[in-house]
Structures are given as structure tokens and as C-alpha cells.
Symmetry: C2
Subunit: 454 residues, 2 copies
Amino acid sequence: MSNYGIDMDDNTLNKLNALFEAKRLEDIITVLSELHPSDIGEFLMHLDEAEKLEVFLHLPTELASDVILETDDSTRQYLIDSLSKRKLTEIVDEMESDDATDIIGELPDDEALIVLRGIGKEESQEVEKLLQYPDDTAGGIMQSELVAIDENLTVEDAIKSIRTVSDKITDLHNIFIVDKNNKLLGSFHVRKLILVPSKTKVKNIMNPKPLKVRVDMDQEDVAKIFQKYDVISVPVVDFDDRLIGRITVDDVVDVIEEEVFEDFYRMAGLQEDDRIFSSPAFSVKKRLPWLCINLLTAIVAASVVGIFQDTIKTVVALAVLMPIVAGMGGNAGTQTLTVIVRGIALGELTFANARKALIKEITVGIANGVILGCIIALLTYIWNGNPMLGLVLALAMIINIFIASLAGTVIPLALRWFKVDPAIASGIFITTFTDIFGFLSFLGLATIFISYLV
Amino acid sequence: MSNYGIDMDDNTLNKLNALFEAKRLEDIITVLSELHPSDIGEFLMHLDEAEKLEVFLHLPTELASDVILETDDSTRQYLIDSLSKRKLTEIVDEMESDDATDIIGELPDDEALIVLRGIGKEESQEVEKLLQYPDDTAGGIMQSELVAIDENLTVEDAIKSIRTVSDKITDLHNIFIVDKNNKLLGSFHVRKLILVPSKTKVKNIMNPKPLKVRVDMDQEDVAKIFQKYDVISVPVVDFDDRLIGRITVDDVVDVIEEEVFEDFYRMAGLQEDDRIFSSPAFSVKKRLPWLCINLLTAIVAASVVGIFQDTIKTVVALAVLMPIVAGMGGNAGTQTLTVIVRGIALGELTFANARKALIKEITVGIANGVILGCIIALLTYIWNGNPMLGLVLALAMIINIFIASLAGTVIPLALRWFKVDPAIASGIFITTFTDIFGFLSFLGLATIFISYLV
């Protein structure tokens, strides 16, 4: 592995490709074993299915258990489906409880049971507990492996506990202090152990008000806590404040990215599980409902045009120009919408300062509308020779970009007010608004001033 | 602070508001001092400017230095502008080098110099070094505070070094091992110190191939390394592999979120620094160029309609129905585009598997087009009574959604091929394509079959 890099270096890749063509599997495994599991996972992504399986089966079990977690969804699913239950059990047995739970959660019930019975009893109990929490909550992303120490013990005892678990817990950052009912009392960073005398009571060095999350907290809120308080790991407690797990920042980094993409997926009328290599049938099933809603809103917008058929028949240039009004409104509205959805997601926009945001966006909308309206009025006059047509177009554009700014701000805020995701389908709502008001304002004004246009 | 929570609890907030109305500043400071700096920063956001300054000036200097880093951009800028240089110097003096650099970097040159002279000599040298790196590189986000130990020393020596810096470095995770020229040789996690005998040489417990980043690496690539390898902290080296700093995961979490939003900002024709509370004039300046490009593309699309004015004059229903074809194409194209931009951003889509993605998206496009086409054909027949009009509309919709899938996949990939950001203005390109081909296919087919439509 290039240890500078994101990807393995070209040398290694060329070597692997050469070994592959020569079918020297043993040598391939030797080269791969030197790499980071993430890089091996990435390498697997690019192989044929048969090759994936062959290479994977030859990896040492411990490495294989890291690699399967680091590869992409479709490779992982294929490997899980193809491995014998015995092999899969061995691999899962090497994992930490949260990862084991994710893999077992993807299996059909009967297979999950076989794997659960095959892994160590202690781990299988942990996994069974974790399986009950929804995927997108603190419980769904936490792991059970942690170091918890009774409040009456000393630093020396803490060091002993850590030594006994050091091979099981690879990313230990905080030590948690609990009372005899396992209620969370405090925590401290592991480096404190080397800074204080060994007879110090742990309760004297702990932070007595540790940040913590409840097991049912939404993963997006958990991610926000990590971002806001810049922490590496947080304890998870149950409804009685008993310590049941911990979440580390690496589990959360992907959640943060996921949640931002989710916002934009929703704006576009997409569902989160519709991925780049989902099957076409799956993607059609996921996208079609939103497109049908879209069709409905497009028909509403079209029926607005329908009202003005006589006007269009009289001045057919209106049909040429009307998409400009609607399109510009749509784009200005999408700009506002994107800024607002971002502001809500980052917590910068609240109901308290919504008025300020609305005034700002409307000001921007009117300014842009006036400038763009003047440009298009001039261009229309040059093209068509009728100054009134340009004026009507300019006025309609100002009105529509104003409406776009208003709708782009109010729609996501209103969705949030009704406790709905502010991004959901807001892209569709915005373009519906700007289409309807674009056609209405332009064709309406044209109808009023029709005598000047013919 | 509610230590469960993201925000301070309502009780605290109500108490603060009451104290505020009674102008009991001393008591306000007492309450605030119990809170996390992030929560104080958030509280400041919601005050008037004069109040912000008044409260801030009464915070103890050390706390003030944490709070100013945790508040929003506009509050921070206001405070920096309003504080005396003397006060600002005291506050910056409390910061870690990366944060101090960010604050000093925002000052005009003459003021920056005053602050640099005022802070400790050692820190001012560190800051001057850091100031030379661009903001969006590893050098721009790294801090100089770290623990580096000579390869020939022992665990005992390492513990001693850590004790001497423990009050300066609050988030120590890894110990770095260097040779006498300060070249990076390896690293290990601080918890290893309690797991091995104190006479152990540090070079015997270090990871000799530590992940590292070079000072000029783009921050987005740095963030990807943290995501891919699940690390908490990475060392930063110069062009000669000498250790010059470290980046911790909390600095990177915000970069990840920023980068995702940047993609979607670009898709919408927005520039990254156009924020929710930027001044209207600033936002107009930033958005107008894209809207002008949009206007140009809208005119191109309109001129396609212009070609078919005679057809529209003959069958005015075409003007009513044509926005449906264009709009549906735009939405289907945006769906595809969003999926593709996400795939590229996450590294799931590469040129190697682009063909597979293209085939998938086209399949989805055709399937959706056929289904939606049948629906709209039926509805049009019911509305208009002419089966041929519905058929033309259905055919045009199939063609346009096909084009939308093609363009939604190819445009971002082509932009990437030319080393341009795949998201840049792709939203505008897509809707241009779908407008043009929507009008062209629908009005073109209508012109061909005009005798069946009248």
C-alpha cells in the first residue's frame, strides 16, 4: 500500500493484475495480505463474481472478516450469499458486535440462526441484543465492546481491566465509570491513566457530566452531537441510564455523509436505498411513484396553459416564450431551496431567524428578477419588434422569480414545521409552483394586454 | 447543559432569557460558564450584536477562546472586528495553533501582525508557519501541537514527554516516532503505553507503516483517508517526509459535510460561499452569472419551440402539453444525475464501471418512460378525444426520458473526464438537454403527424 495514498499505488495494482492473468492465486494472497483491508475491499469490487469469491476464500479468516466490511454493498451481499454458513460463521466470529450484527441482520432468519449458534456464546448474546434496535438509531450503530469500571476502583484496577480486553477492543478511547447497577457516572480518556498516580480513585479523575446518548436517539442526531462537541466516542445508555454500548466517531463519519446525500436525494424525489448499482427493476419501483406525482403536478401546470389557449392561438410567440419564464423561476427557486435546506441541515436556520432569511431571499429574488427581466425584455424587443411583449415577459419573470424565492424559503420551513423532512420532494413542489405561476403570470398578463400584442 | 442533548435544555434557556431581561449580566455569565462552549456559541448567535459583544467580553478568557471558535461565521466575524487588539491577542494566545491560524488569517495584515507579536513567541512561530499553507490543504487544517519521540527512547520516556505537554494538548491519540532529522518512522496509540513494560523501546511497539498525508494534499482527499481507513488522527509530513503536524478527525468531520454540500451547491448553480445569511448583494452577485447562463440555455430551448410556431398555431393543444414532456424529462434527468454525482463522490462509480451504470440508467429511463407515456397517452385521449395526440405525447416522453437518463449519466462523467468537478452546473445542463429534446421530439413528431392531429 502506498501509505500516502487513498488508493494502492500503480505498481501494486500492476503486479496484482499480472499475477491474476498468470492465475497465481497464492502470490496474489501474499501481495494482498500486505495491504490495508480497505484497499483489498476496493480491489475485490473490480473483480468478476467468480474471482471475488475465489480470492476472498483464500484470505486468512481474520483478514477476510475485515475485508468483507470494507467492500461495497453489492460485493458484500454477493459474498454473504455465496459463502458456506460454516465459513460465514467463522468470519462473523472475528468481528466486533456492531459489525457482526450488521452482517447477521442481512441474512434470512433461518441462516441468521445458524450463524448465531455458531459464534461464541457471549458474542451471540451481544448480537441478539443489538439486533433489536432499529438500524438508524444509536442502538443500531453502537457496539457492546467497552471498558466500564466500578466507581470505587483505582487507576491501577482500570489498567488491569484494559489489559484483559486489549486484544478484543482495538479502538479504545474512553473508560466509563459506572455504579453497581451499571448506571453511567462518568468517563475519562485513556491517556489520563498515565498522568495520575496508580492509587487514584477513578471517580476522582472522571468527567462527572459526560456527554451520552440514549439508545433510541436517531443516528442523525447522534452524528450532530459528534460534530458539535468534537468528540471521539460517546457512551450509549438505556431508558434507565444504564450503560449498554458506545459509538465511535468512525461509525458516525459515514452517517454524516449519508444524511447530507439523503437531503439531496429527497429533493430530487429519490429514495435513499436507490443506489448506482441497484437493479433496474428496483430503481424503477423506487423512482416511479415520485415521477407519477410529478406527472400530476405537470398536468396541473399544463391545465393553467389550457386556460389561455385562445390567447396563445392569437399570439403564438407566447408559446415560444413561456418556457423561459417557467424555467428561470425553477432555477432561481432551486438555488434558494438548496441554500435553505443546507441552512436547516446545519442548524443555521431556525424558526427564530426564518423571517430574516425570508426577507433576504425575497430581496435577492426581486433583484435577480429585475436584472434578468430587463435583459430578456431587450432581447425580445430585438427578436420580435414589439416592446409590449418584452415588457410583459419582464414583468412575468420578476413575479415568478419573486414567487420562486418565496416558495424556496417557505416550503422547506413549512415541511419542517409539520415535522416532515424539509427536503422531501421539495424539488418537485418548487418546480410545480414556478411552472404554475410562470404560466399564470405570463399568459395572464398577455391576456390583459392582448390588444397591444397582436 | 442537558448532557443527553444537542441543544441546551429549555429550563436553562428560559433562565437565561429571564436573566437577560433583568440585565443581570453576572448571573448570565455564571449560568453560561456551566455550559459547553458549543452551546454558548449557539446562544450568542441568537443575540443582538451589542448583546453578543457584552456577553462575550465578560466570559473568562480561556472560555471565550473556545466559544469564539464554536459560534457561526457572522458572529465570529463581528466579534473579531469589535474586540480590542489587546483582548483579541489574549484570546488567540489560548488557542491551539490551527485555530489561532484561522483567526489570524481572517485579520487585515497590520492587525494580524499586532496579534502575532502579542502572543507567545513559540506559538507565533507556529502560526506563521501554518499561515503559509492554503486553507483547503492538509497544511491548512493541521495543528502543530503533537508528541514526537526519538526512535531510541523508551515507553517511560514517552510517558514523561506526554506529562510535560498534557496541559497543552487536549486531544492526544497517537504518539509519533521520528529519527534525529525529524523524519516520520512510525506511530502508536497512546493506550499502548499502559500495555507494555516501561523499558520497551518505542520503535518496538510502533506501527512502522503509519498512514500519513503530505502537507499539500487537498482537504477533500484527507477527509477520504479518514473515512476509508477509519482513523482518529494522521500525521502530516513535508516534501522530505519530515513530521510537521497532525490532523484529528474532528477537523475533518466538517470537511466531509462541506464537500457533499459543495456538490449539490454546484448542481444548483450556487457558489459555496453564498450562505443563508450572506448579504443580498453578495448573493445576487454570486447567483446572477449562473442565472444568466440559464437564461441563455432557456432561449436556446425556446428557439426550438420557435421552429414549430406554425404547428402550434394549427394545434394549440400542443402548447398546453409541451411543458409536461419537458418537465418530466427534467425530473427524471435530475434523479439520474443525483444518483450519479453521489456515486462519483463516494468512489463507487469509476470509468471502469461507467458502462454498467449507463446501461442501468438507460434501462430505468426507458421503463419509466414507457409506463409514464402510457399513462399520459390515456389521460390525453380522455381529455382531448384524439388518440393520435396521446400517442405522439407518449412517444415524445419515452424519447425525452431516455435522453434524460443518457445525459444525467454522461454529463457528470464527461465533466470528470475533463478534470472538471462532475457536479458543476450539471443541473443546468440537464434541464437544457431535456427542454430542448422534449420540445424537439414532441413538436417534431406532432409536425410529422400533423394531419392526424387537426
